[in-house]
């Protein structure tokens, strides 16, 4: 059985393990709360991580729908972009998949001399990282933009009044 087939048959198990590794990047007592509570509304972070990993593994196998990949990734990336992480830590979750794949398959494939298969598959994970990077930067850009927009909105009518005064001045000059 080739690597992709193995991954496909163990898809559910692998996505759970990947999600566990990601949850491992949070404080210990938080992990346990988030692992236990599968509730979409009272535990949005835990459930988003699991939802995302379960969607991404099949998508990595088919690897023909970039938009779907981005949509799934975005769930996690947007959350981690506003939590207390450095950019590196925020995106490390993608590489945790690499770690997982090596853990699970290196021995087996090396024994069969098919390690290349893993390397080939890993390029997809690398691509995932690149997409995640784009999404992360987009999220951070959005935060910055929202900050500016918010300040502008808070002063909408003040700016309007200031502009009006300016218009008055120019009107006088024209006289």
């Amino acid at each position: 059985m080739g690597l992709t087939d193995s991954i496909a048959t163990r898809s559910k198990e692998l996505s759970q393990k990947w999600a566990d590794l990601i949850l491992g990047t949070y404080p210990e007592q938080t992990q346990v709360v988030w692992r236990k509570n599968r509730d979409h509304f009272t535990n949005p972070v835990g459930s988003a991580i699991l939802a995302s990993t379960s969607e991404l593994i099949p998508l990595l196998l088919t690897w023909n729908d970039a938009a779907a990949v981005a949509r799934s990734l975005e769930q996690i990336v947007k959350i981690r972009a506003v939590q207390d992480f450095t950019p590196g830590q925020a995106l490390s979750f993608v590489f945790l998949l690499k770690k997982l794949l090596r853990q699970e398959f290196t021995k087996e494939l090396a024994a069969r001399g098919e390690l290349e298969e893993l390397l080939r598959f890993e390029t997809r994970v690398d691509n995932l990282a690149v997409i995640a990077f784009d999404l992360y930067v987009a999220a951070r850009d959005q935060i910055a933009r929202m900050r500016v927009d918010e300040v502008k909105r808070a002063h909408t009518n003040i700016v309007r009044r200031a502009n009006l005064m300016k218009a008055d001045v120019t009107a006088q000059k024209a006289d």
């Binding site: 007592q29 709360v33 979409h40 509304f41 009272t42």
Partner: protein, 340 residues
Amino acid sequence: MKAIFSLLLVLALVVIATVGAGAAKMQTIFAYCIPGTAFILFMVGFVCKIVSWAKRPVPFRIPTTGGQQQTLSWIAQNKWDNPSTGPQTFVRMVLEVLTFRSLFRNTKLVLRHDDGKNPIVAYVSAKWLWLFAILFHYGFLIVVIRHMRLFMQPVPMPIAFLDQADGILQILAPTIYISDVLLLSGATLLLLRRFFDAKVRYISLVNDYFPLFLILGVILSGMYMRYIAKVDIMAIKEVILGLLTLNYTVPANIDTSFFVHLFLVSTLLVYIPFSKLMHMGGVFLSPTRNMPNDTRINHYVNPWNNPAVKPHSYESYEDEFRGPMFEAGLPLEKNPEEAA
């Protein structure tokens, strides 16, 4: 670590009582002096604590509202969760104290899928904590009331009846009390929850483990007395009535387990007023629960309201901005000439 420390503390208490009343024969001390002192300390401490809360003012009415307010006549008010009168508030408190209504709220929502794979929202209750708490507290209450038969001669009808009802299962001899089972399972489950629920473990202190171990010690020593040592209940009643009538005699042949039980109960009594166990009194005084949501309807007085705190006055406001206000045509108390 905190749990082990607490467990060791309780074990130490057990050893003290076993050695003191058993080997050292200081039965008078353990039968009369310690429980008597403990009871006095408990009463004084409890009253002092309640007084220390009650004498502190409640400056504002700050109920947490859990339902629709009293409003237009055609909108139904949720009187129990958002009371606006005294009797309604009383009902809210009764529900809170007798049924732990706030804990009961602890619902959890899950996303499920129907047959057509459409997401539907389903509710699952997360009521374990509520259940454990109810088991524990009601078990405790029944046990305490049942013990009253040891303090009264003759035993009043209601207590005798409760005692009978509690033993209605008629299994084992002596008959097992239902309340013992409730209390033991409640206390054990609450303890296990502290061990195995990570978020609760993280916030738990010695102040949380110690009373649980202590109460478990009380329960287990009590059950040991009844079901294993099968102590002479009439002899014990004599001791207790002796304590109440100030007629000290130590009847012979009381198992040491009685003294252990009594010593742990004494410790618990002394511990209560100085600890979180005072929540039994505090819950009645909580301003977010025991007040009506009515400060738009009735005047409420803050005893320390400071009349010196006044708003920045309109006069100083107009003084500061009179010129531009006048130019803008805003009405003024004094126009600029008058003010000048």
